[in-house]
Symmetry: D2
């Protein structure tokens, strides 16, 4: 029913994995420049400023309970000028968004559900109404990991005005993408607040993608997410640990039938290149190259949003190849009706097969080795109801193959291959 804003699963960069709560204008511009120059042509386009951009003293991934926030007179958080100098003079994120737009990219921000605790303490006004912050706040609706906000009571007069006012502000800045936090797994308690917020965003006059966090989203609420949002996280924060990557096969299995056409269950950011990794700044992603290939292959056949987590200016050649493989990224665009076919244990190693129809003809197959040792296996096309002669290409290597009924594939531990197959009649 609703207009589809995110026709394909968004691709971009998010500041959290490398900068935690302390992202600033310089790092955002630097990464935007890099994306425009090196990645834009492959479809990467969003630059998203994650949490705490309104907190002047933020300096790491840790939150500062009760720290003062930058707000306007209407209870709305605004960028901290010491961290985002271009916002000075009440300009907010407009100058930074304009810069990102000038590069041919899109601009996104993170917000927390609710109204600032400090606006309630000071009982600030709400734009477009004579109600005040205290009158719409719910004192017991408070995020359990971030101290800054109270939830808003949708039943209160003034609640709609508040949410309308913040999206009006973001639209005036030129925001293209809003990652709203503390709103995804709290359902159904905050369901009505989500509906109010979603409605306000859709009515604000500017197309903005709405992304819900944190995960895991609730499968029984799938239709609600589809109705209210473009993206929703299907997992808690994803980091560079094999266990988390392995779990994603089950999460993707649960959500694959809800993917497509403006609805993008989100497997979270890609911890590639230089990242904080449990906030140890010395290192790069702990994923092996094979694990990163597995990650990209799964994210792309499942059509998860692709949000780069690492500091892009520090990317090495492998990371660049990983993120710019045109055939893999075509699968991210063209896959339809993706789903797992089987999970099988062969000689003590678990293998996983996914498939998807290619919108441009042919059928995608992705094969994963979830075990600890290399292995070779024979894949029967009859398991896919595709018995007969075929030709196919492995997308990472470009190797091609023809055969009948089945083919063999060898896979390193934690490794993956992706194929585009055509039947030959």
């Amino acid at each position: 029913m609703s207009k589809i804003v995110a026709k394909t699963a968004p691709m971009g960069w998010n500041s959290w994995d490398c900068y935690g709560a302390s992202v600033n204008e310089e790092t955002v511009r630097k990464n935007a420049d890099f994306m425009a120059k090196h990645l834009k042509r492959y479809g990467w386009e969003y630059i998203v400023v994650d949490i705490q951009w309104y907190e002047p003293t933020a300096d790491s991934h840790e939150y500062h309970p009760f720290a003062p926030l930058c707000m306007d007179e209407y209870s709305r958080v605004i960028p901290a000028e010491n961290r985002f100098p271009s916002s000075a003079g009440g300009k907010g994120f407009a100058p930074l968004a304009e810069y990102v737009h000038s590069l041919g990219l899109k601009f996104g921000i993170h917000i927390m559900r609710g109204i600032p605790r400090e606006a309630v303490a000071k009982n600030l006004k709400i734009k477009g109404t004579d109600r005040t912050a205290r009158e719409i706040a719910r004192f017991s609706s408070i995020c359990n990991w971030n101290p800054d906000m109270y939830g808003v009571d949708p039943a209160k007069e003034g609640a709609k005005a508040y949410y309308d006012s913040i999206f009006e502000l973001y639209a005036s800045w030129g925001v293209d993408y809003v990652k709203c936090d503390d709103i995804c797994r709290e359902l159904p308690r905050e369901e009505e607040e989500l509906k109010l917020l979603s409605r306000a965003l859709k009515d604000c006059g500017r197309d903005m993608v709405l992304s819900l966090s944190p995960g895991p989203a609730l499968p029984e609420k799938a239709e609600l997410y589809k109705e209210t949002a473009d993206l929703w996280r299907i997992t808690d924060d994803f980091w560079d640990k094999w266990e988390l990557l392995y779990e994603m096969f089950s999460r993707a299995e649960r959500w694959c039938i809800h993917t497509g056409a403006g609805n993008w269950p989100d497997a979270d950011m890609l911890p590639v290149g230089p990242i904080l990794q449990d906030y140890n700044p010395a290192n790069r992603t702990k994923f092996t190259e094979d694990e990163q290939l597995t990650m990209l292959t799964l994210w792309c056949i499942f059509r998860s949003p692709l949000m780069i987590g690492g500091e892009m200016t520090g990317f090495d050649d492998f990371t660049m190849r990983l993120l710019t493989n045109e055939k893999i990224l075509a699968m991210h665009k063209n896959a339809r009706h993706s789903h797992p076919v089987w999970r099988r244990e062969i000689d003590g190693t678990e293998y996983i097969l996914w498939t998807a129809v290619c919108a441009e003809g042919g059928q995608y197959l992705a094969l994963f080795n979830a075990g600890e040792k290399a292995g070779e296996l024979s894949v029967s096309l009859c398991d896919l109801e595709l018995c007969g002669a075929f030709s196919m290409e492995e997308l990472w290597s470009g190797e091609t193959l023809t055969g009948t009924d089945s083919f063999s594939v060898s896979l390193p531990p934690h490794g993956a291959k992706a194929f585009l197959l055509h039947t030959v009649s």
Copy 2:
């Protein structure tokens, strides 16, 4: 890996819905005759004799605890001669199977997991081993709704011999289809027994479909069912009540990604025509015609096995049309990657949209009205990532339609429509 026996979801007739535990040879032959004459040409082919065919006194749907069973010297149940006269002289079901085969149809039987309680009481032999019934029975593994069997302990010597011996017997009779009961939702307690039984069936030298009951099967055990069986029930016994039909949308949603290529999650028999309906023999199915269209549409786009439950010789015209619509049955054959697209409440009525790729080109859409009043709604093809010009045919009515981006459809309460859509480039 395994050979695929049921390349498409089986279609047939099962005696339970109309005869309970008291099915006999005459009724089987009568229905086989009818199927051969009127339904075979549409793909209907299995004739399945359900539970208690080895119990001479069975006379209704109620079980008779501790009633004597017909068995051979090797602890194997055999048909009760008073109910299946052609089995006299130790011929078992061979004559009846031969008759069914002579009509161009296939023959199936129901079995209970385990070994007869009475074989254990008498400590009968097990073919091919010097072990006895007592030595392989598990005294505490007993079906809680049927009194006849003990489970078999897979760890005991003789257990494999027993299961080998029963499938050897069924193969010698010419059985094509085995519905094994008390084995589907009892997992994981009986998981090893299922594996043993499945292996014995596959090794018996004759292709037989293995169908598991009762449901609901356990979603977390999907790969086990796929490995061991051709069909498994995703629901408890299904009868002609709207609540049960409505629930099937959720059940099918949960199982759709596991459907295809010899794996057929089973929505249970079709209670159409004259059935016992809670064992009141006076009446016919309580489903309205629209509900029956909804049932067939869902079963076919989901590719559930189709097993007729009613007494076929009493079918009226509507029932015949319901079961012989060639385009709907083509969808049952050609649907691929079926899944729901959305469930939406519009004006207080819930609508449900499913889709599937057609293996012969085009895309299936099935639209359901799950509410209590008629309604008309607009369907956006963009929700299916199919924006643009299209032509399509409604499969029940044969009506055709062309358009761009969206179309309107009106649906009676509890009603359904099914479309085959082609995009026009």
Copy 3:
């Protein structure tokens, strides 16, 4: 190990049931006067000011989220002068406590666990430390039914100083009894905060009873309550409904072995006389007279604290007799090892028998009719291991009785009788 402050279960009056959050000095003095004149001689002695005495705008039982609170410079709430005029000039509750003491009574107050939200918003000081309110508050530890406080993080420097400072203040006022709320059923999350608070109270230099709310307390934490507190609520708020009174038999059964010697599982206030009853001020308690006798009998043989909930100046004769029966109140003092003996259904009516040893000789029996019709039953003393000749007195009526082995008793619906029995040798 600890000094026992409440040697017997406290008896007194609490403002909640009749005044909600809006209690004021006048009503407190009026009830203290009444108690001193009419009830003190029977052992009633505590006058307890319940919640929100620091909130100037409180005017009913409803809380006012984000209303300003009266505080001193050290983050401590102080009485609202408009409601407690004698507190003017920084005197706090000292004048009111002095008045209550002058009547020969004791003075108690209600507090909420934690530190005022407003003290955190203003980042007030904490007495005796250079830490501030913000530094010890836990932003996500917030009572879900009252908006005023944040929990205090016991691990933070300054936390102990805060709790020390509030009990120092209460001691300086002359407080004898502290009912601490939002701390009883939240265990184990707030267990460490309870220990810190309890230690601070015990070390403050003045004997104060510590009563924990709200219930139901957690049976598996019995030893913790015994270690830290004098009273703890075994039920959610108790009101004048039979269902709640009936449930108390089970609650008392669960807690009876933990009663005695400074540990008083608390069945909550007595809703007698004029009370708000679901905040409808027009009426008096909905309990029948028999139900009130049942309540007093159970509370006294179980030795629950006895806290009057009604406005005492409006008591009628029945209520006065109910609360001044010297033999019943002697049971409240002298019962030891109380416990239920049996619950039995006789002719469709449930009867319940409790017993306790009398510290001054003899044995108490309390017999309850939990059913809807009057009944007579024979009680076997052998069920109490007291076979033989006996004499006994019914405590409400003063009737006496002698016999051997058993006796008969008749009871109205929801009614009770209590006996002191002596065996005759």
Copy 4:
């Protein structure tokens, strides 16, 4: 209401801990002789033959599924003559019971709930009715650890006759004590069968103690056990492991208010002296002497039934002293209103204090060290509401002590002391 058969908690010997399923007449007589000569004078009186006495091939603790059982024509199990020679000629246990009676002792047997599987297979008669075994058996009510019986359906005609007939038989043998198994923790499924069985036993014309197994009994069904039985197990099988002994403090705490006057929550047999201990026949109890003192002290102050598990003829001096301390056994008789007072951790060691009133004057105290190291602690009598001067005797050692308000006690790890205290006025 019911007549109280077990006026005090039974004391005796049971064959299970030392002989498993293979007890025979010789071992029973040998232990009866020993008890009569050495233990009878201290109150020990029951000799109980545990499970499988009707199974001719039983030879260890393991059950033999589907082994033939000795039965009479009326579906009733009878002693296996090869194991109980005196039962030959249809005499059953009458000669053995007579022998035990001749020693001044009482005779008990173990039974399984239900009717023999083999009686159902053979469809034997039921005495006093024309119904047969098959007609009353419930095929799905089968003990999950013993293969011999089907439950009896209380709703079936013939069910009462069956239970009447077995107790008639046991009464004719002279049985004094029936330990009924597979009936205690299976509630509420088998609740009606328990009521039927209990009624049949009470109506059989001979006083018999009814003991229910296995545990743990369900606390929420306490009143049912009190109504139907004399004893019920509050634990699964108890063996000589400290963890099991330690848990018994919690189990006893849960059940203490239900103890007394013919109702004896049962902490299970005492694994003392030579026992099988996980069925390793080489060894004696693994409990240390202190642990055995702890066990006896807890069992006696709680008034659990006392059933010796070891082979008595192999007792050493310590075991004899353990079981013949007259003051400890007096506590087992005279304790009233037993309950724990506190559990406290002092210097990392948990101590537990229980108390009980002594029916002959004074108060019992039992103090336990549940930790791994020796310790000394001061016990405040004020915690028992017994402040003041006192004199007391330690019951195991006979040491006496006087003092005021408190006393010190030292305890070895896993050790216990028991006191009888008198206040001095």
